[in-house]
């Protein structure tokens, strides 16, 4: 049943992708509005599927990579729709919508979580830790997408490529930089709170706040990158290209944290340990 709902979301996100790409190419206002609606419609079965999985498993559905990817995707689409509503940078959908669709594809291909899970996972604290961290990820992902657009548009302007394909379609540098700033100021606190929640839970469950396992180390690196970026933004006035580059760097570390730490290193943070009885 959850899978049927997910396929519905997948179709909506692919539809949204087509509409947003169509908007990007043809620059018709109606297409992007339709795109936002279709994405919003897709979020409904997506939400239901997550609830259904949580109900079936009896715990927050983040025990496998596939499940977690779904939650992250949900956060991404929600954050994108919120941003699109409050702070419309329309071309963002042309990257966010396909990303959302691909993430559902990934979640559907990866094996779903079955069987008993480690009792470590049956905690509200842990759900808070995951939700906050993933919402932070989603906002920082949008900062990353904005950063890519910034670099492309800056290249057009500096290189004096007027009338080029991207020059005409991408928004102004100021808007893209503001996107970076807003996503950072929202995403960074969420991310930080997620880390704090996790560390408090670790103290409660394992008796130590920080264990220096690979995921924690990588997270710390990403956190430091974003902390530096935010600090320099506020004090020295870093912006533009540097801010975009750092947002991209930070995101790449996050991706390694999210995927790599689980696939390559084994630690108590990796997914396979969740489904193993202690």
């Amino acid at each position: 049943m959850a899978d049927v709902l997910l396929y519905l979301s997948l179709m909506a996100y692919f539809g949204g992708t087509a509409l947003w790409l169509g908007f990007f190419l043809a620059q018709r206002e109606g297409l992007c509005r339709a795109g936002a609606w279709v994405m919003g419609l897709g979020l409904i079965p997506h939400t239901l599927a997550l609830c259904l999985r949580a109900w079936n498993y009896g715990h927050f559905p983040a025990a496998t990579l596939g499940d977690t990817l779904l939650v992250l995707d949900w956060a991404l689409v929600a954050a994108f729709l919120f941003l699109n509503w409050r702070f419309p940078i329309k071309v963002l959908g042309a990257l966010a919508a396909p990303l959302a669709a691909l993430m559902i594809c990934g979640a559907l291909i990866l094996p779903p979580g079955r069987g008993p899970v480690s009792p470590l996972l049956n905690s509200l604290w842990l759900a808070v830790h995951i939700i906050l961290a993933l919402l932070g990820y989603a906002a920082l992902t949008l900062a990353f997408l904005g950063g890519i657009f910034y670099l492309v548009q800056e290249r057009q302007l500096k290189g004096k490529k007027f009338g080029s394909f991207f020059y005409r379609r991408l928004p102004s540098l100021e808007q893209l930089d503001a996107l970076n700033y807003w996503c950072l100021t929202i995403g960074f606190p969420l991310f930080t709170l997620g880390i704090i929640a996790g560390s408090l839970y670790a103290q409660h469950a394992l008796g130590r706040f920080w264990s220096w396992d690979p995921k924690e180390v990588l997270t710390l690196i990403a956190w430091l990158i974003y902390a530096v970026l935010l600090h320099e933004r506020l004090t020295v006035g870093w912006r533009g290209r540097r801010a975009a580059l750092l947002a991209i760097c930070g995101f790449l570390v996050l991706v390694i944290t999210f995927l790599g730490a689980n696939l390559w290193f084994s630690s108590y943070h990796s997914f396979e340990s969740f489904t193993r009885q202690p």
Partner: protein, 439 residues
């Protein structure tokens, strides 16, 4: 009904001739009044802009109207000879298409410039206030406004920058999003700078500071734009608060070097700086463009934007032409349906006449009746006639193929014997006059 458009524009007449023509038609209102006295023209509108003088009219007698209008344009002997070659005459389809093209700014010197629509609207307002326009021109002009709006909305004909100052504004928008609230610093108070400032003021920039070698001219310009005049020595200090800098001095060496701007950027906390150097030789070190958050453009860059703007406009104009052609055909279809109205009127008149005559006869035979009874009889005869005519009228009004309509009209007229009636009309009317006239 025929549509006729006579005029000259920048493509057919040199500016000297257009000037003279404009001076002979100094007041469009008066010219319109003069044209109205010609009985050949049943509806007319005259519009004159700096690039064209045109008269569009509706006439039943095209040939005569044409000679009238030609004579109107060639009133002065001085230009009569030159006009012979410059005057163009468009009829019906061509006239409609020409008007649509003019309104949509496809026929302008600067293709896509928005002013021409306003000028035509003004001319139309004048024509209506003098009752010079009628049902056909009213519809045609309104259609031309909506075509112009559609062209603007559906094609990018007005999008691209085609002047240097507009190019600067459009570049600024790609950096700042909106120029509202940005501070402008002018180096040099030349003509180009003034023009650019004019454009920027339309974008609601906040503060304008003018730094000029001779303070006096700077002060004068500052007064016009409610800005502030400073001396060139204060340049570095002014650089801290400016967002947009336009430089157009005659200085032989660079006024700003890369290091100066680099230092300023640090103190500005990296707020973006948009520099435009329209001076030749250049005022600003080209190396400045390598700095982060600083965007420097020289006159060649802006010209490049302009050239691309033109290319873009011409591409979009091709789209607009297709749109205009389609709308022209639609309008002509409507115009052709107008032709059925005289026939419909004839049909109704004939029915009324028959009803009246038959009613008279019957009333005489029936003898005295109450008013109510008489009215009931009248209503009866009229509604029978109306019901009978309903289908033929619908048949006429239905959208006909332009080529078939003449045949259909002919059929209906023969079927109901409308044209023979016409000759006998007079006789019947004379006979009727003696008896009671139909109500």
């Amino acid at each position: 009904m025929n549509l006729l458009l006579v005029g000259v524009n920048h493509k057919t007449a040199p500016v000297a001739l257009r000037e003279k023509l404009a001076s002979f038609i100094p007041d469009p209102e008066e010219a319109c009044r003069a044209l109205k006295t010609y009985p050949e023209l049943s509806e007319l509108i005259l519009y004159s802009t700096c690039n064209r003088v045109e008269v569009l009219c509706v006439t039943a007698v095209a040939e005569e109207a044409e000679t009238r209008l030609k004579a109107f344009f060639a009133r002065d002997e001085e230009i009569a000879g030159a006009l012979e070659e410059s005057l163009y005459i468009h009829r019906d389809l061509d006239a409609v298409q020409h008007l649509f093209r003019v309104a949509a700014s496809l026929d302008s010197m600067v293709v896509g410039e928005p002013q021409v629509l306003g000028q035509i609207k003004e001319a139309y307002r004048q024509a209506t206030s003098q009752n010079a326009s009628g049902p056909i021109l009213n519809r045609l002009l309104h259609k031309s406004f909506s075509v112009a709006k559609r062209v603007r909305r559906e094609t990018g004909i007005g999008d691209a920058a085609v002047s240097v100052s507009y190019a600067a504004v459009s570049l600024g928008k790609k950096i700042f999003g909106s120029l509202a609230g940005k501070n402008v610093l002018l180096l040099g108070a030349g003509e180009m700078a003034e023009l650019a400032l004019e454009h920027l003021r339309g974008q609601r920039v906040a503060q304008v500071v003018i730094a000029n070698r001779t303070l006096e001219r700077g002060v004068r310009l500052a007064e016009r734009f409610r800005g502030e005049a400073v001396s060139l020595e204060e340049l570095e200090a002014q650089l801290l608060s400016a967002d947009i800098l336009i430089s157009s001095t005659g200085s032989p060496e660079y006024l700003l070097t890369r290091d100066q701007v680099k230092a300023a950027m640090r103190r500005r906390k990296q707020r973006p700086l948009f520099l435009i150097d329209i001076a030749v030789p250049r005022d600003l070190d080209p190396g400045i463009n390598d700095l982060d958050n600083v965007y420097l453009y020289n006159i060649d860059d802006l010209q490049e934007v302009v050239a691309q703007g033109w290319e873009h406009r011409h591409q979009e104009a091709a789209k607009a032409e297709r749109l205009v052609a389609a709308e022209t055909l639609k309008f002509l279809e409507w115009l052709e349906t107008l032709e059925v109205f005289p026939t419909i009127i004839d049909l109704k008149e004939k029915a009324d006449r028959i009803c009246g005559a038959e009613l008279d006869k019957t009333l005489k035979q029936l003898g005295p009746l109450t008013e109510e009874q008489r009215q009931a009889l009248e209503v009866l005869t009229h509604s029978i006639a109306q019901k009978l005519l309903h289908d033929p009228i619908i048949f006429l009004k239905r959208n006909h193929h332009p080529k078939k309509i003449q045949k259909d009209l002919d059929l209906v007229r023969r079927l109901f014997n409308l044209d023979l009636d016409r000759q006998e009309d007079a006789k019947i009317l004379v006979e009727k006059k003696s008896s009671k006239p139909p109500e």
